[in-house]
């Protein structure tokens, strides 16, 4: 199944240019595992960067002899490691080899907070139970979601494995998780979200880290 909701162009360019925040880069790279179309577009952007590199003016360099005198052994391709938890490899690198350690948030809701080196944006894997409805909420900043398994509907459409959703603060949304399987997603938010209404106070628990 090929995703139908893709990252914005600027994420792809920023990924290749190396200017993206770590959390959004993780979303982009993980989406690419699911999406041959975005892999092609990333390859295009990288090759175009290579073409511009080959047009660069030349600066004096003098390190060749030093390198030749000390060339190390070359790396050889390794067989890919099997996916430990069934998630894309870029995300697996953050999850380690052990069993997933979920933190309880609320009935039907649990999360894993990822450790990031410098990013200030909260990055989490969130597990929402099959058939549940996430109360209406909105965001002071952007909330970016990559669906890893299962799916949901909200005001802007249907989202399933590999799909990217970007919610901004302009309109509150509420997610209806598809029946039959839980929805697990990777979520990168700018700020804690704002619940709308009394029932939604549970949502603020998401963001106690």
């Amino acid at each position: 199944m090929i995703p139908s909701h893709h990252p914005p162009d600027e994420w792809l360019l920023a990924h290749i240019a190396g200017t993206q925040s770590e959390g959004v880069d993780l979303l982009t790279a993980s989406h690419a595992s699911y999406c041959p179309q975005c892999r092609d577009r990333l390859a295009d952007l990288q090759d175009v960067a290579g073409q511009y590199l080959s047009q660069m003016p030349e600066q004096n360099v003098s390190g060749l002899d030093a390198l030749l005198a000390n060339l190390p052994a070359q790396e050889q391709p390794q067989a890919p490691r099997p996916s430990r938890h069934g998630f894309p490899a870029p995300l697996e690198r953050y999850l380690g080899d052990g069993d997933l350690e979920w933190t309880y948030v609320a009935p039907g809701v649990k999360k894993i907070s990822l450790g990031f080196s410098q990013s200030e944006m909260p990055v989490r894997v969130i597990h929402l139970a099959a058939g549940m409805t996430v109360p209406t909420h909105n965001h002071p900043g952007l909330e970016r979601t990559l669906v890893l398994s299962g799916g949901y509907d909200d005001e802007s459409g249907t989202f399933e494995r590999g799909d990217i959703a970007v919610a901004d603060g302009s309109q509150p949304h509420h997610q209806r998780i598809h029946k039959g399987a839980p929805c697990i997603s990777l979520v990168v938010a700018d700020h804690p979200i704002t619940p709308v209404g009394i029932k939604s106070t549970v949502l603020s628990w998401f963001f106690e880290s």
């Binding site: 162009d9 360019l13 952007l45 003016p57 890919p80």
Partner: protein, 195 residues
């Protein structure tokens, strides 16, 4: 001994080709030091130029990172998969990563060998097209409108976000974004359209 790509005189080997795809393939397949020397002569001066822009003119750091980039090119050459892109694109990626690593940020990467990879199914044999990819990329770039090329180059070489490019060039952010979008449409059409 004379081959189509290099000549050997005594112990001295000289590569006749300056094509990075040819040279990188030889570095990968045979740990060919002469090919590496030629590749170094061809790309290291350009990599340093890129790093000078990325570090806002820091010569010492640019020299140091250029050496690091070329060392990685040697070490990782056997991992280069030409079915996924051009040698220069791959080398750009290594230079970009060296820059990011210098600032100690982790960098999630697309992993072409991810066991979870979703493919579109069997692809037609593209071998003949792959040989021409570098040529097609060159063509795609030369036909890119100037304003679009400018936005891409600023992102690639100065490490600027689109918002920073908009500010630096006194252009509305929406305009910069739409130039990037148009550039990507143009590139996709140019790279897919020719066979």
């Amino acid at each position: 001994m004379v081959s189509s790509q290099r000549i050997t005189i005594g112990h001295l080997e000289v590569w006749l080709s300056a094509d990075p795809d040819v040279l990188l393939k030889a570095v990968a397949a045979n740990a060919d030091r002469a090919a590496f020397a030629q590749l170094y002569a061809h790309v290291a001066p350009k990599i340093k130029s890129f790093l000078m822009r990325a570090t806002r003119g820091d010569v010492t750091l640019s020299d140091e990172l250029t050496q690091e980039v070329m060392l990685r090119v040697w070490k990782r050459a056997p991992l280069f998969d030409r079915s996924r892109g051009t040698a220069m694109g791959w080398i750009y990626g290594i230079a970009r990563n060296a820059r990011i690593d210098h600032f100690r940020r982790k960098r999630p990467q697309v992993e072409p060998t991810d066991p979870m990879l979703v493919d579109e199914g069997p692809q037609p044999d593209e071998t003949a097209q792959l040989h021409q990819r570098a040529e097609r990329v060159r063509h795609a770039v030369t036909t890119l409108p100037e304003a679009q090329a400018f936005a891409l180059q600023h992102a690639y070489f100065e490490g600027r976000t689109l918002a920073e490019i908009a500010t630096a060039t006194d252009t509305p952010l929406g305009t910069v974004k739409s130039r990037v979008r148009l550039a990507m449409v143009h590139l996709r059409a140019a790279l897919e359209g020719q066979t």
